[in-house]
């Protein structure tokens, strides 16, 4: 099992290297001159050149690349022009915000999509099946930021049910002590239920806007998988053996149907992390998505590269996590070589 994990990890390395090269090239061909930006509006040609030299931007690209990779090896993602902080520090500080949001979005999507898909699969062609297809298509049809704006308009502006969509916690709540970095969990650990509630309140709308996005692939996958499983030979055996419908659907059907769903969870999670970029912007969420947008708008090379490289690493780690999950739920994977 350890061997298998190591193998999966090694097989991901080439793609990681590819990502590093591509991001380096792309971010250096972005329009905009960071040196000019940094030297300020009153800069002279001379002071810009000086800034360039200080940042190493006057070197030829290959030299810059080698220096960059060398730094990467030491965990140095460079310094952000915007914040003046090391990119790694910025990212680590902002990551929990994005993770918390994404996780809640994923949980929302799973809680809605999996039962919907199962229900549709068990009653194919019924109204619930059509409803499933309809909802899922509708949820996928609208861009997530649009959904977000509609939700804000309805639940904050019109109904006043949701708190104002700015950030993770309204300012009059104390920040919970950092343990996991998830405000809801940290506040609960600290026994501060009011803060936990408030943090959860802030999460609901962005998590739903984001989660709606994952509804379609999850529900569709669950439905297709369950229909496939219910049509398979071993379900016929279970029926022929007279097992009760409950056992057939849950123990024999659902658990097998879950395997491909678990398989795409990693993909969906990283897909959501990516979709975060817009949602965080709309909700003033201090995560890595808004950080990346800012970085792109200001040609903050180091921050862009750092963001993409981190996403690539996260993606690899997530898929590794999914592989491990897979080994736990599917005995056949454990023995695969």
């Amino acid at each position: 099992m350890i061997k298998l994990i190591a193998k999966r990890f090694l097989s991901a390395l080439p793609s990681l290297i590819g990502v590093i090269i591509v991001t380096f090239v792309i971010s250096h061909s972005l329009p905009g001159d960071p040196a000019a930006y940094f030297a300020g509006p009153s800069a002279t040609a001379e002071s810009i050149a000086e800034t360039k030299a200080r940042l190493g931007l006057d070197q030829p690209l290959p030299v810059q690349f080698v220096a960059y990779v060398g730094d990467l090896m030491q965990g140095d993602l460079g310094r952000s022009f915007n914040s003046g902080q090391p990119v790694l520090t910025d990212l680590i500080r902002r990551l929990p915000a994005s993770f918390e949001l994404t996780l809640y979005a994923l949980v929302f999507a799973i809680v809605v999509a999996v039962p919907l898909g199962l229900w549709a699969a068990v009653n194919p062609g019924s109204w619930i099946d059509h409803l499933c297809r309809g909802t899922v298509t509708a949820a996928a049809a609208f861009p997530s930021f649009f959904t977000a704006l509609v939700l804000i308009f309805v639940f904050y502006y019109k109904l006043g049910w949701a708190p104002s969509p700015i950030g993770r916690l309204a300012i009059y709540f104390p920040l919970p002590p950092t343990i996991t970095g998830f405000f809801t969990i940290d506040a609960l650990i600290a026994g501060d239920f009011a803060t936990a509630r408030a943090a959860l309140g802030q999460l609901i709308l962005p998590a739903i806007s984001l989660g709606l996005f994952a509804l379609a692939p999850l529900a569709r996958m669950t439905r297709a998988s369950m229909i496939g499983v219910l049509g398979s030979d071993f379900i016929t055996t279970a029926k022929a053996g007279g097992l009760p419908r409950r056992t057939i659907l849950w123990t024999y059907g659902f658990r097998n149907a879950l395997l491909p769903v678990v398989n795409i969870l990693g993909m969906i999670f990283s897909f959501l992390l990516g979709a975060n970029v817009l949602i965080e912007q709309v909700f003033g969420w201090p995560g890595i998505g808004s950080y990346a947008v800012e970085a792109v708008l200001t040609s903050d090379y180091a921050a862009i590269q750092g963001f993409v490289v981190m996403m690539a690493i996260l993606y690899i780690l997530l898929n590794l996590g999914v592989d491990i999950l897979n080994m736990i739920v599917d005995p056949r994977v454990r023995y695969d070589d």
């Binding site: 030979d233 016929t236 053996g241 658990r255 739920v329």
Partner: protein
Amino acid sequence: MTPLLDIQNLSVDFATRDGTVHALENVSFQLARGETMGLVGESGSGKSVSAYAVMRLLGGSARVRADRMISGGVDLLTATDAEVAALRGKRMTMIFQNARSALNPIRPIGQQIADVLRVHRAMPRRAAKQAAIAALAEVRIPDPERRYHAYPFELSGGMCQRVMIALAFASEPELLIADEPTTGLDVTTQAVIMDLIREKSSQRRMSTILITHDLTLAAEYCDRFAVMHAGHVVEQGTTADIFERAAHPYTGLLMKATPHGASNLSDLAAIPGSLPDLRRDLPPCRFVHRCAHSAPACAAALPRVPLEPSHEVSCHMPWKVSA
């Protein structure tokens, strides 16, 4: 004595995108307690559909009609889904050709047997586990305690089929339908599996329907035969009736296609033509286009001709079997 299974004029149609498949038409047979009947015929002749119809396992696209369909005193035509579900396992059960795919791939095999035991013998978890291990031992799976925890992919095809047999017999059913239980296994394993089925079913005086390609193998284990072609039972009788006094041209060709002690029906060079397309309008005798003895009379409705009390043929020109 009333038969355990009594099927009269069973017809099954499937609604498909390319039209209605007339898979079975007026299939009739009876099975007495303790009897083993072979159901033979080319691939696609409707053997599995017959079995699934008896188990009421056909999907929603199937339209099933019959004059009578009684299993163990229960009318399968009027029984509710719940009543049929209660029959399955306990009264009738089925084992399948591909045992590996017929077992849940991510559940230990012992637990799958225990699942059945807990339902039918109302056993608590602990006792069910012990009984499942005993059931594995009974089908002579070595080291049953350890194998209890094995998954199907860890076992050979023959071992999986033994597990299937243990599973089928766990609930002590009265009727076993074995759908090509040995196809795909090597010859030695085939004999072992068949002996196992015979041993278990005779111990319990169970009735068995053995669906097979392999006439030679089946002759050794079956009391009676029903020969199917394109959704019809063309002939049925005792093993001697079928093997020595075959009356239907198709049965004769089947015999010729399976020379003594030789292979099976997969190389059916001796039978001319192929099964008719079951989606078309079919002639009364579905064999007429392949038959060397067809005559104008064959266009009339298909008769059921009793030759002896045990022997019946659906043919206008019986006994024309070319020797």
